[in-house]
């Protein structure tokens, strides 16, 4: 029933690789043309994480990795690799540090320091084929839980493992389950929070796309442990492919009787419904999310009561993040001792981060808790592009905070991040280099959070706007030193008086940049100067007479004719006319345009 092929060609068709479906089509055609369709199987996989090199192709049994593949490469790949067994060198990954070509998927430095527990199947199995998940040990944990463990045993196992919520706050998962189990209610629910909205966060999307069954299996196990028969997966509507894969996965699991009535012949039954969001960042907050499932505006309400006591339709509800559920089958199968052997004293297991921004290896990584920031940035991330210096990394999205060079040796876990003023959050890591203005960076996040405020409570709605006005003034050179005290005051109010985490954490990026880069704020206010040369109001463009060769490129490209000069002689910018668009700097081949 399962045909054996001599070779499998895996292509990442995750939504991070927009060009991949055309490659699949080209490959199908080529294989048919060469009568190889019965020998070589095309497997469409989810994201293996190495997004900066996509579209990716992995050819087994050799395990050859080809990067940035285009449809035009397909005939050559088939001719050389599939037929003649040779590698196409120009498509191999070149390690930027060792300047060497790397042939095999497993040898790439990007993967070496990772520990892939919940991403184990991502990039290995076909997410649209439940059999492949089962072949990798899928649903075995569910069977073990149902037939060899009591619901109490399961909760005990999760408690002992030390698993904490992967949505950001880090609440102990086993304890949360126990609260819901012990809460009184005629009906109870389980929700999977897949409303991943942080800019630069795509961990949950990738898992839902690449290994949807691991999340489903985790939810069914949670249902058995807590004594619940109904679950919802709330997923952003923007994640079209994740929703498609979830739907396929649920229907296949239903067909096999792995969800539905009498699972695996036991007397336990569990149903799962997918709920699509309609675009609202605040719906990632659990009470807002539940309001949205109920068909209302996604506005948060005060807690307590917590969802474990009064959740969906007023009933006890257990709500966990995608990654939390994905960890559950692994823990049940391998035991709590195994899980708690990974990580630090207080934070067990692994953490998945989405590495983005000014870093060489943009992508999805899974690392043991306790790894240092430096290892992530340099060993896995491959350092900062164009030889620039690392300046900071924003963790936890717009509601998080940043870490600077001082923290490069800090082992990362829930507690250490909190101490530095950043947060674990859901796992976004946005890296910026020395040319980034931290005031503008903070202003940018603040603008995001104030735009996303649902407007229900005053501290968030008004406090955020007020703080944004102050920051606007500072980046425009109209700031006063007293503004910094005012920011701190506002932040205190917002943290204490806002209804939900959105308002409470909105000041985060401002506060942490103010703590780490206070001198930059002061430079904007006192010297009316932007040290990174980014805040347009505070910079002026000049041409370095020594470097300028008089090629005329800037003159030709200036949209407002602010540049003058004779050919082969140094040019000049008329400051009065200049709109500071930066075109001259971009086009100059001699690095002669500078800002002050």
């Amino acid at each position: 029933m399962h045909r054996i092929y001599r070779s499998h060609i895996l292509i990442c068709t995750g939504s991070g690789c927009p060009g991949a479906p055309i490659i699949v089509e080209a490959l199908k055609e080529e294989l048919i043309k060469r009568e190889l369709e019965n020998e070589v199987r095309i497997v469409q996989i989810g994201c293996p994480g190495f997004c900066s090199q996509g579209p990716l192709m992995i050819i087994y049994p050799e395990g050859i990795l080809y990067c940035e593949v285009s449809p035009d490469d397909v005939p050559e790949i088939v001719e050389e690799t599939i037929i003649k067994g040779r590698t196409v060198e120009r498509l191999l990954y070149e390690d930027p540090i060792a300047a060497q070509l790397v042939t095999h998927y497993s040898e790439i430095p990007f993967y070496k320091k990772q520990k892939r527990v919940i991403l184990k199947n991502c990039g290995l199995i076909d997410p649209e084929n439940i059999d492949e998940y089962i072949a990798e040990g899928g649903y075995e944990a569910l069977g073990k839980a149902l037939f060899e463990m009591s619901p109490e045993n399961v909760i005990e196992e999760i408690k002992k493992s030390g698993l904490r919520g992967r949505g950001g706050a880090g609440f102990p998962t086993g304890l949360k389950w126990e609260f819901t189990k012990n809460a009184r209610g005629e009906k109870k629910y389980i929700i999977c929070n897949g409303d991943e909205g942080d800019p630069g966060a795509f961990m949950d999307r990738s898992i839902l796309e690449a290994d949807p069954h691991s999340v489903i299996e985790g939810m069914v196990i949670a249902g058995y442990a807590i004594g619940v028969n109904e679950g919802f997966i709330y997923c952003r509507a923007e994640y079209a492919l994740a929703i498609r894969h979830l739907k396929i996965a649920i229907s296949q699991a239903m067909d096999y009787g792995l969800i539905g009535e009498n699972i695996l012949g036991s007397d336990f039954s569990f149903r799962i419904t997918i709920k699509e969001g309609a675009g609202a960042f605040v719906c990632g907050e659990e009470t807002a999310l539940m309001a949205s499932i109920e068909g209302r505006r996604g506005e948060p309400r005060t807690r307590p009561p917590y969802p474990a006591v009064k959740g969906l339709w007023g009933m006890p509800t257990n709500i966990n993040n995608v990654k939390t559920y994905a960890n559950v089958p692994r823990i049940i199968l391998n035991g709590w001792e195994w899980f708690s052997s990974i990580g630090t004293e207080t934070s067990k297991g692994t953490m998945v981060f989405a590495l983005t921004g000014q870093i060489n290896n943009i992508g999805l990584i899974e690392v043991p808790m306790g790894i240092t920031l430096g290892e992530i940035i340099y060993d896995i991330g491959g350092g900062i592009p164009r030889g620039k210096k690392f300046k900071a990394v924003q963790t936890g999205g717009p509601l998080g905070g940043c870490l600077s060079t001082e923290s490069l040796n800090t082992p990362i876990d829930y507690e250490s991040l909190k101490e530095t003023g950043a947060v674990m959050g859901s796992g976004g890591m946005i890296v910026v280099d020395e040319d980034t203005c931290m005031v503008e960076f903070a202003e940018y996040f603040l603008k995001f959070s104030t735009d996303e405020s649902c407007g229900k409570c005053v501290p968030c709605r008004v406090g955020g706007k007020k703080m944004l006005e102050i920051l606007n003034n500072i980046t425009e050179g109209k700031g006063k030193l007293e503004d910094l005290d005012e920011i701190e005051n506002l932040a205190k109010f917002m943290e204490q008086a806002s209804l939900c985490a959105l308002g409470q954490l909105t000041p985060g990026p401002v506060m942490s940049t103010l703590k780490l880069f206070r001198d930059e704020y002061v430079a904007h206010i006192v010297d009316k100067r932007c040290p990174a040369g980014q805040c347009i109001s505070l910079i002026t463009f000049y041409i370095d007479e020594e470097k300028c060769k008089g090629c005329g490129l800037c003159l030709k490209n200036c949209p407002v004719n602010a540049i003058s000069g004779e050919k082969k002689k140094p040019h000049k910018i008329d400051i009065e006319l200049c709109t500071k668009c930066g075109t001259c700097r971009d086009v100059c081949k001699f690095d002669a345009v500078y800002t002050k």
């Binding site: 499998h8 020998e39 087994y60 049994p61 199995i125 089962i134 072949a135 075995e140 149902l146």
Partner: protein
């Protein structure tokens, strides 16, 4: 799709599926088939299919890979078997009829068929 009614049935399904996924795992046995123009002309593709069928029938874990011409065109189809890190044994003029015996002797009994060997190591 029939429902899976017990943990045993789940495990059985898993055993069946694992085979089709084997190609994505490295095994200790590597079988290389020469697939240059010369090899294909001499019937290498049919030989490779026969090998795949035989491996499945005998439930043997092995990776089958293809290579281009190694210059011994007169001896095609060429099949090289490497096991457990040992140097490879290359057999020449393998045809579909010879495949079952080759798999039986070399991979199951562990005996090299000397008269078919054209190179060792």
């Amino acid at each position: 799709m029939p429902k899976i009614k017990s943990l045993e049935e789940l495990r059985k399904l898993r055993e069946e599926t694992i085979k089709s996924m084997r190609v994505r795992k490295s095994t200790s046995t590597k079988i290389t088939v020469g697939m240059g123009t010369c090899g294909i002309a001499a019937g290498a593709r049919e030989v490779m299919h026969a090998i795949l069928d035989e491996l499945e029938k005998r439930k043997i874990d092995a990776n089958v890979i293809t290579v281009g011409c190694i210059g011994l065109c007169a001896e095609e189809p060429l099949v090289t078997i490497e096991r457990g890190g040992q140097p490879g044994i290359t057999y020449g003029k393998i045809n579909v009829e010879k495949v079952p015996k080759l798999i039986e002797e070399h991979l199951i009994k562990g005996d090299i068929i000397d008269e078919w060997v054209i190179s060792r190591g």
